[in-house]
Subunit: 497 residues, 2 copies
Amino acid sequence: MQQKLNELKAILAEVSDLNAAAGVLGWDQQTYMPRAGAEARGQQMGTIGKIAHETFVSDRVGKLLDQLKGAFPEGSDEAALVRVTKRDYERRTRVPASFVVEQAEVTAAAHEGWVEARQKSDFSIFEPHLAKVLNLTRRYIDFFPKADHPYDTLLDDFEPGMKTAEVQAIFSELRKKQVKLIKAIAAKRQVDDSFLHLKYSEAKQRAFGEKVITAFGVDWNKFRQDKSPHPFCTSFSVNDVRITTRFNETFLNPALFGTMHETGHAFYDGGVNPAYERTSLGGGASLGIHESQSRMWENIVGRSLPFWEHFYPTLQKTFPAQLGNVSLKKFYKAVNKVEPSLIRVEADEATYNMHIMLRLEIEIAMVEGAVALKDLPALWNAKMKEYLGILPPNDAQGVLQDIHWSFAGIGYFSTYSLGNIISAQLWERINKDIPDLAAQIRKGKFDSLLGWLRAHIHVHGRKYDPQELVQQVTGSRIDPKPYLRYLETKFSDVYGL
Amino acid sequence: MQQKLNELKAILAEVSDLNAAAGVLGWDQQTYMPRAGAEARGQQMGTIGKIAHETFVSDRVGKLLDQLKGAFPEGSDEAALVRVTKRDYERRTRVPASFVVEQAEVTAAAHEGWVEARQKSDFSIFEPHLAKVLNLTRRYIDFFPKADHPYDTLLDDFEPGMKTAEVQAIFSELRKKQVKLIKAIAAKRQVDDSFLHLKYSEAKQRAFGEKVITAFGVDWNKFRQDKSPHPFCTSFSVNDVRITTRFNETFLNPALFGTMHETGHAFYDGGVNPAYERTSLGGGASLGIHESQSRMWENIVGRSLPFWEHFYPTLQKTFPAQLGNVSLKKFYKAVNKVEPSLIRVEADEATYNMHIMLRLEIEIAMVEGAVALKDLPALWNAKMKEYLGILPPNDAQGVLQDIHWSFAGIGYFSTYSLGNIISAQLWERINKDIPDLAAQIRKGKFDSLLGWLRAHIHVHGRKYDPQELVQQVTGSRIDPKPYLRYLETKFSDVYGL
């Protein structure tokens, strides 16, 4: 069996190397590639993707997996490797290559349709494309065994083992209380954050961000930061993890919190057990768990008072003209300002989840066929009004704002909110294990926190499913109560509720 | 036949994509990769190299090549594609995979041995490694049909079709006259270049270099420049060509002329017929032809008086403290200073070829078994004394200075000098075709020159062998006379010979 495992691992190592190479090509494309290089880059990534796919879905891999099933003790890394690889294999082999090609064609056209529709703020341009995408999505679902709900099949790609009904239950508990919180905040006097919108030089923003993440525990021998139009984190091994940042010279927040956010992802990628390198167990347990790491560093740490008690004097020294006369408390409130807004990616902590719930409900309705596509703009607007109390002035700022549906990315919006929820659950656990954590953060010390995350989350890579991992670490399944407590405590403080 | 050609092209496209991907990984490794990423990067490049090799040397490719031989009219692109691919195929299939693995192991150890030997300036540490490398080299030669001279097989990897006897004849004509020239210069008063060794800020050096190559005709949509410890040019398609530069803040020359040099390579890579993309005809005809392009822009253009008549005022404005009081003539002489020196990579135009000849003679002697390895340091020093009139004070600055033998790179030193020689041959032809070229350069106009190189050299990619290409363009085979004329004219001017 060991020999068969070794053979499997050798194939997985090749697939992993090819995926890492594609990752480097993708990183380069977003950061440094000359514009005209795009066409050739597409061909190169296509070739590598094709070879990686063919290598992985070979009959030999299927046979090895069958032979290795049950060969290793439950709970062992080997058993996890076989189980996770088998799941990946199933998902890759159930979908015929012809479908993948068709999907690529449909989504390429849909992307162009979406760009034009958004530009003209005219949903009717995108609607026929969305109809095709939805048709593909339904056919995709049909490749898999019937689940409790058809949306389960989509969700499973991003949150292995998670059920639609579970997410709905979690969100339903969250929705009522979060709407109430937002209303309570709206009744209070708005905080002033005008000083965040002054001129902040990119070089100084960058230098300050580097100071922060160095204090967090970034090892620059294994890490780097570059610029790109859309920030992301990517990794090519646990020893080569990279983030990108977008700088806005008239708004301090995006780069500042974006850098902390992507660094949270980077810690996860870089903290996976090195023994899992070049196997199916590398990477994170799910998008939700991954997002819990980024949101924790960005929000629970990076928007906390203890954090700014330590870092604010340095930030003031970096930007004396802009912040010299702004008190710590005033700054802290400003970076935690809550204001219902139209665009998800710009939403604050208190309103963000509402954007997600709205999308999840619409996606489920689409998959169920419970809504006619032509009615989506109206449905979107009605929900915006209900959850956030505001109405998009046009579809570009409403139903057309996200790129996801154009690339058939139906099924993963909820992972953003699951990340928030899980981050607060972990945070309560961490504070039990490290009782003086706030005091440590106030001193700019993050090693206990990072050490905890490494030992309890990062090191496991993909060994456990997300619910299993959360259960194991916190003693309960994914639960929105800690996040609600967190929001209530924080915004009571910020807004004097 | 068209169908078979298409099948071959589809395979070559995959191989080309994989090689381009490996190129991106290599570029990243030299420019931005975090240090700790090296091990994983080695694995990734190993996997891609292995798959590219296996894809290319498949029996199917061999069969297609046999079937396609003679199927297309002589002189057509298709016939060239089949011929060049066949040659590559032969070279790749004659060498067994086990040999490649053994060579990788031997050279990995030899590299470490060389590093240590150079550090300690002790050739005896490197000697046993070199013995193994030489043994591998002889075995490599034995995989191929017997040539006129065993060294021919090595040379053919870099200068297809070129014979050792041809290179020896060319060099023998060169040597006598070049030694004489160097002696004549040595008898004259040395020029002053002390002002080139003042403090020159990296940012300003870079900005000036960018101005120069933009004037040369670089299209920044298809090109970029980064920093690396060792400058190089690489390309991933004709629309994505990159150079790297090393900056020295206390010596103006390396970045200035290095940038022009690498840009010469970049023009070649980016100027190949787009129809040759993803086939065996992409890239340059040989290392010598490639070097002729880089040396032309670096030396014949970049160290010429007309060039500086245009650019020197801008350079003075960029560095007023350093150059404000230095006349054009003085500056021109300084960048053309001739001084026999120990280290090849730092050698000037007049002495550079001597370094190459010395190495070629020693390599041929090694391959012939005409010299005992233990005698190499003495042989090296004797030739240095004879050709350049100086004696290395130690082996680190003598026989141990180059990395090439440690990676079994025996056979390509001569291409550096061939590049110089060819560049002058082309230059004479170009000046016949563009009679007012000097006047154009004096105005900072390079489009006719670049256009000529594109049309006569770049566009052909690997379609012609180097001798064939030179013959076709200049009407004669590779000939050192134009280069000697060029040197004599230039240094008569600089040194008043």
